[in-house]
């Protein structure tokens, strides 16, 4: 099976010229939209960005101190320090016309060091994972695809759930949630890091509906992805820095107990 996945990668790179050609009109339009702007608009945008940057820098001050402190405490506990992972920006070339799957093609491939199963995020949260890598392009499976699921936990209280794609762009579903679970509309779901595909702590979805119908075996929970899946353009690729970050903590704890 592994070699067959490689074949799929070759096929992907074989058809990438066709994809580039097919998206040329769109890219021309985008290019002209970016280049034909007035000076006034550019100045306005520049000011907006500058004030945003100031805001973000201010927000960053507190967490950076906390992170240092956290790292120090983790070293004291002899658990591995969470290092920053490698990141790379990418742009979407095309979105599939196929109504049965939610996938996008991005302009980075194996030449840029991408590998299968890598996490992809946008400015808001988790978008999906790399499905096939070609030489120059690769395919990203979105979290809303019907064959996709993300292990998440509720940020408020740490309860673990699984977010399944439903095939609808604005909805994720959660199966096997007991009625007694403390979950409310508006709860933020973040990646739990279990499963090893997605790094821990990135936002995935917000709970939009909780129906606790006692005649059914489980509560019906739905959520909406926080990433703007239907208006994606620029994405960020993440490289996992260490595997099993969650389990390594517990193993050190048990070894200390002995």
């Amino acid at each position: 099976m592994a070699s067959f996945e490689g074949v799929r990668g070759y096929l992907q790179s074989m058809v990438s010229p066709l994809q580039y050609l097919a998206t040329t009109p769109k890219r021309l339009l985008d290019w002209s939209l970016e280049n034909v702007v007035t000076r006034r608009q550019l100045i306005d945008e520049n000011q907006q960005l500058k004030s945003n940057e100031l805001l973000f820098k201010e927000q960053l001050m507190q967490p950076s101190i906390l992170k240092q402190e956290n790292d120090r405490l983790r070293t004291l506990l002899r658990s591995p320090v969470r290092a920053d992972s490698k990141k790379m920006g990418a742009e979407i070339i095309s979105v599939d016309g196929d109504p049965y799957s939610h996938q996008v093609v991005i302009d980075k491939g194996a030449n840029d060091g991408l590998h299968e199963g890598q996490a992809v995020i946008d400015g808001q949260g988790i978008v999906g994972q790399v499905l096939h890598t070609g030489t120059l392009t690769s395919r990203v499976l979105l979290i809303t695809d019907i064959s996709h699921a993300v292990p998440v936990r509720i940020q408020r209280n740490g309860i673990r759930l699984i977010a399944n794609g439903t095939g609808a762009i604005e909805r994720l579903s959660h199966n096997h949630v007991p009625h007694s679970t403390d979950i409310r509309v508006g709860d933020l779901l973040v990646t739990s890091g279990l499963g090893g595909k997605y790094p821990e702590g990135y936002p995935v979805a917000k709970v939009t509906a909780v129906r606790k119908d006692e005649s059914r075996p489980f509560a019906q929970v739905q959520s909406e992805p926080v990433a703007q899946i239907n208006r994606l353009r620029y994405l960020l690729l993440l490289w996992p820095n260490q595997k099993n970050s969650v389990f390594s903590t517990s193993s050190t704890v048990t070894s200390k107990g002995n």
């Binding site: 074989m14 097919a22 009109p25 799957s101 096939h132 395919r139």
Partner: protein, 159 residues
């Protein structure tokens, strides 16, 4: 001069492939006609010795790779649909363009239903009426594609 070895045919098929993956606004996207199927149908009716089930399978396979679906889904649906045309090309050839348009619509519906059945088998997809919207645009597209491709065939004297 170089048209006899089928380069023009391959070129039209490649253009059809590109048209079927060009990004469109979400509202029109569901109505995207089956470009590849229409072009395949034309060549299969005009030159059944050159374009046949194998060509259809290859085109469907390329479509699979381009759309990222499970390999073989579009290939099988395309090959089965074109098989019906290849079996009846002498009858369909004699129909008027409007009757041919209706036949193209029926074949396109069959194609989409086949794709749906394969997807249903693989991933529990749920049927939505929007999966059959392309049938309408394919019927509208057929006469124009037919006239254009006939002009291409006569101009380059493809036999």
């Amino acid at each position: 001069m170089f048209a006899h070895n089928g380069i023009i045919i391959i070129l039209t098929l490649l253009i059809a492939l590109m048209a079927s993956i060009t990004p469109l606004p979400l509202s029109i996207d569901a109505f995207r006609p089956d470009w590849v199927l229409v072009v395949l149908l034309y060549w299969c009716l005009a030159l059944p010795t050159k374009v046949n089930v194998i060509t259809a399978w290859l085109m469907g396979f390329l479509l699979d790779v381009l759309l990222g679906s499970v390999l073989g889904v579009h290939a099988a649906a395309m090959a089965l649909t074109v098989y019906i045309v290849a079996g009846n090309f002498q009858k369909i050839r004699n129909f008027s363009v409007w009757q041919q348009a209706l036949i193209a619509g029926v074949l396109s519906a069959l194609y989409h239903l086949l794709v749906f059945w394969f997807q249903r088998f693989l991933s529990d997809a749920v049927f939505l009426p929007s999966y059959l919207y392309p049938v309408l645009t394919t019927i509208v597209l057929w006469p124009w594609a037919f006239l254009l491709l006939r002009k291409v065939r006569r101009h380059f004297k493809i036999k």
